[in-house]
């Protein structure tokens, strides 16, 4: 489970952020408060990615498999951060 959580951490953060944004758009509608919530969620998503990356760095990389796991996980976190900012833009600048 731990390895899967490490491998998929960034993507899970992305999924949480996306579905929360969808929930706001679909069920709360468009308002200043909704935009504020999007901003807050985006900041939290990025913070979660940063924390995961921070915790990943000191993890052991002994052995091929561990190195591979760390690199895929870091890639996932980078992609997640990018996609989170990108998908929040319509609410933040729109």
């Amino acid at each position: 489970m731990r390895t899967w959580a490490i491998l998929l951490g960034g993507l899970l953060v992305w999924a949480g952020h996306f579905f929360a944004l969808y929930g706001i758009g679909e069920f709360a509608g468009e308002s200043a408060a909704s935009r504020g919530a999007v901003l807050l969620l985006t900041a939290s998503g990025l913070a979660a990615d940063a924390v995961l990356a921070w915790r990943l760095l000191p993890l052991s990389r002994a052995g091929e498999f561990m190195r591979w796991r760390a690199r895929v996980a870091l890639g996932g976190l980078a992609l997640s951060a990018l996609a989170i900012v990108w998908q929040a833009l319509p609410a933040l600048i729109g």
Binding site: T3, L7, L8, L11, L12, W14, A15, F18, F19, L21, Y22, I24, G25, E26, F27, G29, E30, S34, S60, G63, E64, F65, M66, W68, R69, R71, V72, G75, G76, L79, L82, A83, W86, Q87, L89, P90, A91, G94
Partner: protein
């Protein structure tokens, strides 16, 4: 992480073994994994046969849907033609789209998984061969009956996404729509069965040492594909169920005049429908990655990035479903989110394409048959991807929506992303299953005709679409500028058809099935394990894997494996068996004894298909008889499994001992049940989403739910049901008889809670026909009733096994599975009771 399970990796150094193997070992393997004769071809369960049946049937559907495409193109070749009357055209485009998507594309890639994965992972077979056989027969029988509807003019005609209100009883009164709803719902069940098999197969039956980072990229693709099916397909199963119930019993889920909402269908459909595109694309991309590396005679560039891209696609593709609904008037902010995610999803797809191009660029390009199709696929898929980014932009989509531009886009994506890779795969892996490879000379013609035909057919459609030609029209007036693009499209479509015909001729000349050995062999010099010499039992021994391309890195491996110098060189128990390994590092854990051929999966599939077909034509008594027979067949097939094992531990090679039976979370049966429960949970979650969606969009129709406090006895009963099921497992370990009664107690407690819940809602004045809220609440109760009924059946099954002395102390997988299911049933009921009350509470 040195070891995942406590297994000492130093033991791998014992392989290849040096001692001579005992006489007769190979003969025994041949006897156990024997060839079928005569009618036994209907009862085979080996992946070598089932995979070929599956792929052959999927290809048959491709041909039949292709013929429908040519009919449409003939009709549209010139304005005002009357080859297909309007109503028939509607049926033909609906069947073409539906058959291509549901009966060809998904089953074809699933079939490729069933055929290739055991060989690639060096397992003897997938872990549930009978489930594969059931999935195949259900699909084949159901699919052929569904297709036959077109010959009697009863084929569905509402388009492949079947939007209500067009498909409601008021506007589609015939049974055509029911054919689609029941047929597709049923076929999706078969797809899910296959997906469960693939997930457990990839995670638990890899060759020892094949850790996740050494897994062939196709196996990664199939893993992500199967997980996506488990998450996405429940949504369409629920959607088809609700629409069919609306049509049959007048429960207004999608009727806006009574508190339903047709947009709910669109959400349910596209939550499945868009990931479906990636569900089709990912395995094809996996094949491409395997083939590109072999064709370029080099290692795949960016293996790690491709794995990441596949995982990311699996996630992000669930955030794009509403881009099919940009024109429905969704709130602008929501539209913006979906537009952004739709663009973001092109990033991982792009990563894969760049990796293929880089691999081809640094390797030694050879334009043999698979190589040509790979390059063709990249060109076509990238074109489709670019128009995809165009339509992800909302203002452009408003212009192009429902026009021929979309028809062009979707065919570029599907043909480039799936059909061309599949043809590359046909050429590439044919020597693995056939005595002769396909002709390289003819392949050049096949490719040229298909590639040119594809572009000539679909490029002009962009133009026709931008000029304003709508999709799904059976003809058009002269003088609107549509004549030339349509004529060119038709010529291209027939060229493409000719290419496929030539391929069929090649197949007829060269394809000679060789499941029991004697295949053409590794003609393209592939480096992964499916190219080990193999027979019906797969490779003679199961190799220790030390790299991603074992055959390239260790040229002696094939010889050693064939001489039985690796794991499981013979049969350890005298039964069919394979090694179950740990999910991350693939360390040997135990020996799985596998079931052999059986007629029950076939019978179960025929009766399940009979049930759905009879429901469609409203022969209700026949439907119930079929349903009962299907359940009996499934129970009969299960009855033979999970038997006591004589040897508790066996030597699987070089003196390494493993158990022959394990229970609990380490067993592959436990994993399967958990995945099945995820499927059920997804269906339930989508039903809860439906309730929330209607509450937010149709508040005027919302009645106050019963109070939370009034639900206390219900919560208590569900809690008791959960605890009773949980307690049964440890107690059954001590005494294998009376604690089975706890399973009955659990099912009865859950049934009573359900009854109380329903009476509460009835007392609050809610009726399923009266409003969308009533309909969804009743649907939630029906789902719960299904779970409770199944739980009761499981309790009875356990009791019958106890009575027959088949429940072996102190452990049994059957008990574990019943416990898991009943606990889930209680948890689902509790969640439903709370959620229904919470939504719309004042």
């Amino acid at each position: 992480m040195r070891s995942e399970t406590g297994f000492d990796p130093a033991l791998y150094d014992r392989f290849p073994t040096k001692e001579p193997r005992p006489e007769g070992e190979e003969e025994e393997l041949r006897r156990i994994w024997c060839k079928p004769k005569g009618w036994e071809y209907l009862t085979v369960v080996n992946n070598n046969y089932v995979g070929i049946y599956y792929l052959g049937t999927a290809f048959l559907f491709f041909l039949m849907a292709g013929v429908l495409a040519l009919l449409m193109r003939a009709q549209l070749a010139a304005p005002m033609l009357e080859i297909l009357p309007q109503a028939t055209y509607n049926q033909v485009f609906t069947m073409h789209g539906t058959v291509m998507m549901f009966l060809f594309a998904v089953p074809a890639v699933e079939a490729a998984g069933v055929l290739l994965l055991p060989q690639m992972l060096a397992a003897r077979d997938l872990p549930f061969p009978r489930l594969s056989a059931y999935a195949f027969w259900a699909y084949a029988v159901g699919g052929l009956c569904f297709f036959a509807s077109i010959f009697v003019g009863l084929a569905p005609d509402g388009g492949w996404f079947m939007y209500p209100p067009l498909t409601s009883k008021a506007y589609s009164p015939g049974i055509n729509t029911d054919f689609w709803l029941l047929g597709i719902g049923f076929i999706e069940i078969s797809a899910i069965a296959g997906a469960i098999e693939i997930i457990v197969g990839v995670l638990r039956t890899r060759a020892p040492g094949m850790s996740l980072d050494k897994m062939p990229i196709f196996a990664w693709a199939m893993l992500v594909f199967a997980v996506m099916i488990v998450i996405a397909f429940p949504s369409i199963i629920l959607g088809t169920l609700l629409l069919e119930i609306e049509r049959a019993f007048n429960w207004p889920f999608f009727d806006a005049a009574r508190g339903g909402d047709p947009l709910l269908w669109q959400h349910l459909f596209w939550f499945f429908g868009h990931p479906e595109v990636y569900i089709i694309f990912l395995p094809a991309a996996g094949m491409m990655s395997m083939i590109v590396a072999t064709v370029a005679k080099t290692e795949l560039v960016g293996y790690r990035l491709i794995v990441l891209a596949m995982l990311a696609t699996g996630f992000i593709s669930f955030g794009v479903w509403a881009h099919h609904m940009f024109t429905t008037g969704m709130p602008p902010m929501t539209t913006g989110f979906f537009s952004a995610a739709s663009m973001a999803v092109s990033l991982p797809a792009g990563l894969q394409v760049f990796s293929w191009i880089a691999t081809l660029a640094i390797g030694q390009r050879s334009f043999n048959a698979p190589g040509l199709f790979v390059v063709g696929s990249i060109v076509i898929f990238v074109t489709g991807g670019l128009t995809g980014v165009m339509v992800a932009m909302v203002p452009f989509d408003w212009q192009a929506h429902d026009s021929y531009f979309i028809v062009a886009h979707l065919h570029y994506v599907l043909i480039g992303g799936m059909v061309f890779p599949l043809f590359a795969a046909f050429y590439y892996w044919m020597p693995m299953v056939s005595r002769r490879a396909l002709s390289e000379r003819l392949a050049k013609w096949v490719f040229a005709l298909m590639f040119a035909g594809m572009n000539i057919a679909f490029l002009p459609m962009h133009l026709a679409g931008l000029q304003g030609m709508p999709r799904r029209v059976y003809t058009y007036l002269p003088g609107q500028g549509f004549e030339l693009p349509n004529l060119v499209s038709t010529i291209g479509a027939f060229m493409l058809g000719l290419g496929v015909l030539l391929f069929l001729i090649d197949l007829a000349r060269n394809f000679r099935l060789a499941p029991g050995g004697g295949n053409a062999g590794n003609v393209y010099d592939g480096a992964t394990l499916e190219w080990l010499p193999s027979e019906l039992y797969s490779a003679r021994s199961i190799p220790v894997v030390r790299s991603r391309e074992p055959l390239r890195d260790d040229p002696r491996l094939a010889g050693d494996v064939a001489k039985g110098r690796h794991f499981l060189p013979g049969s350890a128990t005298g039964h069919r068996e394979t090694i179950v390994t740990s999910p991350l590092l693939a360390e040997p854990q135990y020996l799985q004894i596998m079931p052999g051929p059986s007629a029950w999966p076939f019978a179960a599939a025929v009766f399940t298909a009979g049930f759905f077909l009879a429901l469609t034509v409203q022969a209700y008594s026949f439907a119930w008889v079929s349903a009962i027979l299907a359940v009996v067949s499934i129970l009969r097939w299960l009855w033979e499994t999970d038997r006591p094992v004589r040897d508790e531990e066996v030597d699987i090679g070089a003196g390494i001992m493993v158990p022959t039976y394990v229970t609990g979370p380490a067993s592959h049966g436990w994993w399967t049940m958990v995945i099945l429960l995820v499927v059920m949970a997804m269906i339930f979650i989508m039903a809860l989403f439906s309730l929330a969606f209607l509450a937010s969009n149709q508040p005027a129709f919302w009645a106050p739910p019963p109070s939370m406090a009034a639900g206390l006895p219900i919560y208590f009963l569900y809690g008791a049901a959960f605890l009773a099921a949980l307690a049964a497992r440890p107690l059954l370990k001590r005494d294998a008889r009376w604690p089975v009664g706890l399973f009955f107690a659990s099912a009865f407690a859950a049934g009573s809670a359900l009854w109380l819940d329903w009476t509460g809602w009835s007392a609050a004045g809610l009726a399923p026909q009266a409003s969308g809220q009533g309909a969804v609440i009743a649907a939630l109760q029906a789902l719960q009733a299904f779970a409770v009924g199944t739980g009761l059946l499981m309790a009875a099954y356990c009791a019958a096994r106890v009575a027959r002395g088949l429940m072996t102390q102190p452990r049994s997988n059957t008990v574990d599975l019943a416990m898991l299911f009943l606990c889930y049933t209680a948890a689902q009921g509790l969640t439903g009771a709370l959620f229904g009350r919470a939504i719309g509470m004042t």
